[in-house]
């Protein structure tokens, strides 16, 4: 098993290096299959690992020392337990699907090789992130996924919008990275370890709920929030949709953005030890879930809607891990990976069909034109809005149940989650009804083309996953890590199921009413709540706020330093001194008149000075020199 770990990493690494170095020389199909195959291979290794983990094995193997001086010891070690195994499986599995899909989707793109190189780099870093056995390498992987996300958002670097989005994403993630680095500092300075095993075994040395542990957890949360696009560091995710759709599917939906959830789950011992921090996580999650959902209701760009739904769903996961329902959180992570990847890829097909037009108002009634996409997208929609017996139904319900059954403030978060569920159903069906429509068109004059099989087959597979993934006993699988979740009575289970289904139906009903049955009503209502709608449509003006509060002042300060402080003040002082010397020099120079008599005068002055000194010595003058 200690060989399998590196192998999982090696596969995408080799793929990345091959494509990065020789990608432009290789024939396109080969490139595609290398890129995807590497991940597929990794998936195979992951399955091998799974089999052993199911056998109850875990791994914590050190391969080499990264830095050792004094008690600062950082190994490169891999840490494999059910949690990371689950992550690996999802990453490689879903990743493989998406990469296969990309072969078709990116088929015509000049940057084909570059794309797959980046994708493999991403998979590599993501695997590193989840497999690393210590914080430093976690951070390295963490930054690696940030980098590849940056690269892929800015994949079409000719687009200014893409470039800006990429930079935004990177800078915001850097904020998170710094937060995590600081967390690592505090952990090291208080516990003198940076590897998980030592860390988990020593957490208890800190006072429970004390400042230190709380601060550590909050700093970790900063990283998690930045990476998972939770409030308040969420603004980069919608813009990240500038990247190719498979990227959005893999990185900004299925895997990377959930790294925050993984982090909290991985550090659950710490969060158990810092209740205040845990609550913060939950609050952030719950609020984000609702907040993002509201924005989702007003967007018209298909990918942006999905992006906000992603935020919202990750909010659920944060809520879950925040209230200690780690298994539920990871469960939802997995199901979400399926249906959100599915949704994005389906959306990608639609976008292709409409020649890169992403405005849902320009679409509609695709059942005839894009049947596969239509049905798969419908499945995804049902799954995400928690339609009974679909994957999303189980995972989301577990979270809501956990929240509601929790005491105190979490209860209200549960209520919020419930409302969000309704909103989810609303905006997802709004999307579906607007973009895909209902009725069958006998003949579609738009001549839409369904995507290639290489794209549709993965979609179908994922659709299947979106249906059945709910039946995978994730909680049981993760129980070695998080312990057994409390058994819930059938009554509570069915009661809550009914409740959430009801809420979902309400959401669906409004969506149906406003966007399928009587669109004029939608217009009327929109005008009635114009200010509120504007607020939501403009994402609560948070981008503008940040621009005003951080970006512009930053530049203003920089310019001030450049134009005033540097040139006038600091350098001014220096040059001023130099000029002063020159002026003085000129003054002295004037003595030299060239006239003997003046020279004599100066000499006599000197002699006079000598006499004065003598007089001063002997005390003939008011002041006295010497003893």
């Amino acid at each position: 098993m200690d060989a399998l770990g590196p192998l999982v990493l090696l596969a995408p690494l080799v793929g990345f290096l091959l494509l990065a170095l020789f990608g432009r020389l290789l024939p396109r199909p080969l490139v595609g299959w290398i890129g995807a195959g590497a991940v597929g291979l990794a998936f195979v290794f992951a399955l091998a690992i799974l089999s052993q983990v199911l056998g109850g094995q875990t791994l914590d193997q050190t391969y080499f020392t990264w830095w050792q001086s004094g008690d600062f010891f950082v190994p490169f070690n891999l840490y494999l337990d059910p949690l990371s195994t689950l992550m690996i499986l999802v990453i490689t599995g879903i990743g493989f699907m998406i990469l296969v899909y990309s072969i078709g989707y990116m088929g015509s793109d000049p940057g084909f090789a570059r794309f797959f190189a980046y994708m493999d780099l991403f998979v590599l870093s993501m695997l590193l992130l989840v497999m690393s056995g210590n914080l430093v390498w976690l951070i390295i992987g963490w930054a690696g996924v940030g980098l590849s996300s940056y690269l892929l958002i800015g994949f079409w670097y000719e687009r200014t919008s893409a470039v800006l989005a990429a930079r935004k994403a990177f800078v915001m993630n850097t904020i998170g990275d710094v937060g995590m680095v600081f967390a690592a500092f505090m952990i090291f300075l208080n516990l003198h370890v940076l590897d998980y095993r030592g860390l988990f075994s020593r957490v208890h040395l800190l006072p429970k709920g004390g400042t230190v542990i709380t601060v550590i957890c909050l700093l970790l949360l900063v990283g998690a929030v930045a990476k998972s696009a939770q409030l308040p560091l969420h603004t980069w995710l919608p813009d990240a949709m500038e990247g190719p759709t498979p990227v959005s599917a893999l990185i900004h939906a299925a895997t990377m953005v959930t790294a925050g959830v993984y982090l909290v789950a991985r550090m659950h011992l710490l969060y158990d030890w810092a209740p205040a921090a845990a609550t913060t996580v939950a609050v952030v999650g719950g609020v984000t879930a609702f907040f993002a959902a509201t924005i989702g209701t007003s967007q018209v760009d298909i990918k942006r809607i999905l992006a906000y739904s992603t935020m919202s769903q990750i909010g659920y996961m944060f809520l879950a891990v925040g209230i200690g329902a780690y298994a539920a959180g990871m469960f939802h992570f997995m199901t979400h990976a399926f249906f959100k990847a599915l949704l994005f890829m389906a959306a990608g097909n639609v976008i292709h069909a409409f020649h890169d037009d992403q405005d849902i108002r320009h679409m509609g009634n695709l059942r005839a034109g894009l049947p596969i996409t239509f049905w798969t997208f419908l499945i995804g929609t049902l799954s995400i809005s928690g339609f009974p017996l679909f994957a999303g139904f189980f995972s989301k319900d577990e979270i809501i149940r956990a929240a509601l059954s929790a005491a105190g403030s979490e209860f209200w978060l549960g209520i919020l989650a419930l409302i969000t569920a309704g909103l989810t159903a609303f905006y997802m069906f709004r999307l579906f009804l607007t973009a895909f429509g209902w009725e069958w068109l006998a003949h579609d004059e738009r001549h839409l083309h369904e995507a290639l099989p290489v794209q549709t087959i993965p979609v179908i597979i994922l659709a299947a996953g979106a249906v059945v993934a709910g039946y995978i006993p994730v909680a049981k699988f993760l129980s070695p890590v998080f312990g057994h979740a409390a058994e819930v009575g059938a009554a509570a289970f069915w009661g809550l199921a009914a409740l959430s289904v009801l809420v979902g139906l309400i959401g669906f009903f409004f969506a149906y009413l406003l966007y399928a049955r009587r669109p004029e009503l939608a217009v009327a209502w929109r005008t009635r709540i114009a200010p509120l709608h504007a607020l939501v449509e403009h994402k609560y003006y948070i981008d503008e706020l940040y621009d005003r509060v951080f970006v512009r002042p930053g530049f203003a300060l920089a310019r001030f330093l450049n134009d005033v402080i540097e040139t006038r003040v600091i350098d001014g002082a220096v040059n001023g001194l130099a000029d002063f010397v020159m002026v003085e020099a000129r003054e002295f120079r004037l003595i030299q008149t060239g006239r003997v008599r003046n020279y004599g005068l100066v000499m006599l002055g000197g002699a006079l000075g000598v006499v004065l000194i003598v007089a001063a010595f002997l005390g003939y003058l008011p002041f006295r020199l010497g003893g």
């Binding site: 120079r589 004037l590 030299q592 008149t593 060239g594 006239r595 003997v596 008599r597 004599g600 005068l601 006599l604």
Partner: protein, 101 residues
Amino acid sequence: MPVPAYSFLMLSGVLFTMGAIGFLLRRNPLVVFMCIELMLNAVNLAFAAMSRYLNSLDGVVFAFLVITVAAAEVVVGIAIIVQVYRAGRQMDVDELDLMKE
């Protein structure tokens, strides 16, 4: 009763200073030169007086050397002055300011 030594010193001091002042005031190089001679004379007076009051001949000898040297200096000096004059320049040290800042 003998004249106290310091009276000679003060006289020489006065003469010396007058020479110096003359040096600073006069513009004719010849006269300036004379003022220098005046200063040297003051020194000689001091030397003579001292050797008298210290009962040693060093002062006298020194004064004699000074006289000789002064003579030599005058010779060279006059020659230089003549040179300057030959160059057709005014006998005014203030005019001699080809070289200055």
